[in-house]
């Protein structure tokens, strides 16, 4: 087990710009620049055994007009979860796909493309999956107001308190 832990340190030595933080038991948080992230994932996979891409999460930060992409990687050998955080600007909202490293990435990248509108270069499949019949903007962006959309699109039923007393609606 120690061999893999040493190799993780070797990865960190090779990339001195990383901000590494141990946030809890079996949890490591890494802040990495956007252009260095694919290299980091490759080193983690090849040298430290982080084979399992658990998830890719996207967070919208409208204050700085940035998307934060978080890659959660798990190592079966050393039982540790690395969350690699990186930020990309709204404009142009493009990033590289890590499909060639981790095949499951295609599902998450497709999802992020659909929900946030981020385009992943090299991702083999970014067709709509969930929102095939959705015409509006990417709904997970903070600028999309779901309550306003619902009020515009749907009508509401009048509240009828007498139904509480007579659930059959007066039909018996």
């Amino acid at each position: 087990m120690n061999r893999e832990l040493e190799s993780l340190d070797a990865v960190f030595r090779e990339m001195p710009d990383l901000k590494v933080e141990h946030t809890g038991p079996r949890r490591t948080r890494i802040q990495v620049e956007a252009d260095a992230l694919p290299t980091l994932l490759e080193l983690l996979k090849g040298r430290a055994g982080y084979l399992h891409l658990s998830a890719i999460s996207c967070v919208d930060w409208p204050d700085t007009e940035e998307f934060e992409l978080v890659y959660h990687l798990w190592s079966y050998q050393v039982s540790n979860l690395i969350s690699a955080h990186t930020r990309i600007p709204y404009d142009p909202g493009r990033y590289v796909s890590v499909y060639d490293l981790h095949a499951p990435a295609v599902y998450f990248e497709r999802d992020i493309h659909e929900m946030f509108g981020v385009w992943f270069e090299g991702c083999p499949d970014q067709e709509p999956f969930i929102l095939t019949e959705w015409q509006g903007p990417p709904p997970m962006r903070k600028s999309f107001d779901t309550v306003a959309y619902v009020n515009d699109t749907f009508e509401w039923r009048e509240y009828q308190p007498e139904w509480a007393n007579d659930p059959s609606g007066g039909k018996g």
């Binding site: 946030t23 948080r29 658990s54 999460s57 967070v59 959660h72 979860l81 969350s83 095949a103 969930i130």
Partner: protein, 380 residues
Amino acid sequence: MRPENYKPVQHSASHEYELYFGPNHPGIEGNYALKCVLSGDVVQSLRADGGYLHRGFEKIMEERLWIQNVALVPRICVPDPVPMEETYARAVEMLGGLEIPKRAQWIRALMLEASRVCAHLFYFGGHAATMGMYSNMFWGVTDRDLILDIFEEITGARIYHMYITPGGVRRDLPEGVLDRLSKVLDYVESRLPEFDNLFFDNAVVINRATGVGTLTTEQALSWGVTGPNLRACGLPFDVRRDDPYLIYDELDFDIPTETAGDAWARTLVRREELLQSIRILRQIIATLPKVGGPIRCALPNPLAWNVPAGSVYARTESSKGELGFFVVSKGGAKPWRVHVRGPSSMHAVHVLERLGPGSRLEDVAQIMFSLDACPPEVDR
């Protein structure tokens, strides 16, 4: 089902044809669709089409208070809702730096394992039904109902309990419920020989399920397979043991594995897991009366609770695989972002699309059920 812009197209004479498998189809699990291209009855290519159960959970959770989301999260996965509640509550506790009392941790583990037993009984029925064998469905669903009765006694609800809240659990266990749970477990265990006679030792079923949807170990690793499906390929990985949460490091249980990686191996793994869950539950039943103390830690006013800023990734072993909740707080009264990694999201889309081609049409439903793909947590 024809799409709205349907125009009849004259195809050239070809041996391939397209078949829409779902959403309105008895062989599909939940409300989900597969678009198959077939030649004869052999699947040439398969494309998953989801979103029929999309409710936009991740968006509407951003619109509600931390405590209001407790009511929302179990609805992400219908057959196995407790892990959703537990993982969300644990993520919020990790963000808020709360340490929950020991007794609450044991009660949570009890709920999680009972929910796993439920989900696996349901799975036996579902998998058998895809082979046209409905007796198993009747038995599994009826035995599962006995555990739902225990849930109802503890929480007041059969399916969506909303029992596990950030800080602990809502109320203590009623008097005598552990004895009744113990009896139910004895009964479920005594039923297993009957299930064996009908299903697990049935030559027809074994022939029908062996070699269907086979995953090799390398494929399973590179396609991100988790949970019982990964263990059916011979990899003994379990979040409960390797990334323990609650009191799982104090419990004694085995991690069953199989090596074949096909639909039958996946079913056998789940049969063993059912026994292991019963074993865990027995340990909990024996220990829980000795664990005293409160069931909740002190919370700030939940209606004006500003969870400290930060981000956390909480993981749970659900009955279908690895469940992850990535929760980001900006220090406000509402979550800034909640990302749900549905346990079967990888199985229902990525793995199914790759396992499908080459199999026969009648096995597609079986592959989907044997992966225990759960559409609501894919669509969220």
